[in-house]
Symmetry: C2
Subunit: 244 residues, 2 copies
DNA sequence: GCGTCGATGTCGGGA
DNA sequence: TCCCGACGTCGACGC
């Protein structure tokens, strides 16, 4: 048996193989030609030529790959009768296992890609929160920002505002508003209303898109909803920028 | 410009490339060597040799790939000054775009894997729910199934039963019972109890494994817990099968 | 280390 | 088709 050599890059193997995963569930793939990718971080993934970028089966790091070359006429044969070329055993962290029985290797390459310089993202929830913090007026006339990430014992409230009458307003910001977010805001508002320094505190659920069920639950909990137009908000920012 | 040829399989390209995604967010990858996979379903994914099975950037089908070979000294050059070898443009469904500027193709292979015979899974929540629906007796003597996926304005209740006295019982099924599931069941039971046609409705939290915190919360909410033995339940099914 | 929460989540089922 | 919740969710971040 030989252990996986230290990869200096990514390895791509094309092989007829049969795959068995056992871990959080069990899954089986019958013998067929597939693409197997082994990354430098140890990850092993088995791809068909569909299912978008997702593999049929995989093992996430940390995991170890060991390869055995079974002697002919050993148990574990190709259903067609031919002996297996290799048997790969990938062991994951909680005793998860991925077994890849390879009947025939059709191609095998390794490429050294070096360290990737990394990915830059824009337009995620953090950005939405920042835009709302800079434009509290979208919540109503006279609304002012008190603070972002207001700390409570059960977690940070995304935005704390005061409305035109000076009353506190807790805002939960989401890109997509779903029921979980309403639960979260409910807990915050309930807790903050126990503080006589803050009470009465109202709650606003702000998101680019609010699902109907979440809106129903929010109304039932006495919370307001605000659907945010991200592009318009960014436009307001630009408009303000031009004023100065 | 040439459009992507009809792939008969999966294509793997190793190339120095720069990537820009614009769609649900915007993201940028500076020039570096990477692995690009193009599947027969149209999916394009750009991998580094880490991040487990997930690509740095991708486009899910349906999408179209078109490739241009820019003339030397055209705009869009390699920062190093060398001309680009190819420019790939992947268009997704809501105007999403993925641009891959390729400075140098280091390797390029295509493999015909054929249609994959597919994946067999076992042990997921849907299966557990089905088994419980077929064996309402595990909840208690005289329990009968009313319906699966009983609709409420805030979401579907996994199972609606009637107990031996004719009272309604709402069941939330989970593979792993955690606090979220208890919250979910609480909302359903509370809502259903406002309906005089249903009230009084009791709640049962059923899971293969119920975390202690979830059990405590369930008790506090007046909900029952049922720890389900998946294998035994499957065995009951088999036993019943053998009777007929 | 564990719990919480976001995600270009992706995927599958029911209306 | 859309809507909605599960997922082998995976990862990032905070305590």
């Amino acid at each position: 048996m030989r252990h996986a050599a230290n990869l200096t890059g990514v390895r791509v193997v094309i092989a007829r193989c049969e795959v068995d995963y056992a871990g959080r569930l069990t899954a089986h793939l019958p013998m067929a030609p597939r693409l197997i990718m082994v990354k430098k971080d140890g990850a092993v993934s088995v791809h068909a030529d569909d299912r978008a970028y997702k593999p049929l089966n995989w093992m996430s790091p940390p995991c170890t790959l060991s390869v055995t070359a079974p002697a002919p006429s050993q148990p574990g044969e190709d259903p067609a009768g031919a002996p297996l070329e290799e048997l790969w055993l990938v062991k994951g962290r909680d005793g998860e296992t991925l077994k890849i029985a390879i009947a025939e290797i059709l191609d095998d390459h390794e490429y050294d890609l070096g360290v990737d310089p990394g990915l830059e993202k824009d337009g995620v929830e953090a950005h939405l929160q920042a835009l709302l913090a800079e434009n509290p007026g979208v919540f109503g006339t006279g609304y002012r920002l008190v603070t972002r990430e207001y700390r409570t014992p059960i977690g940070p409230v995304d935005l704390l505002l005061r409305d035109g009458d000076g009353g506190y307003v807790a805002v939960e910001v989401k890109r997509r508003g779903e029921i979980d977010g309403v639960e979260q805001l409910t807990r915050y508002v309930e807790l903050m209303n126990r503080d006589p320094q803050l009470s009465p505190v109202s709650g606003v659920f702000a998101a680019q898109l609010i699902k109907p069920q979440a809106a129903v639950l929010a109304r039932d909990r006495g919370l307001s909803c605000l659907t945010v137009d991200y592009d318009a908000l960014r436009g307001m920012d630009n408009a303000e920028d031009r004023l100065f």
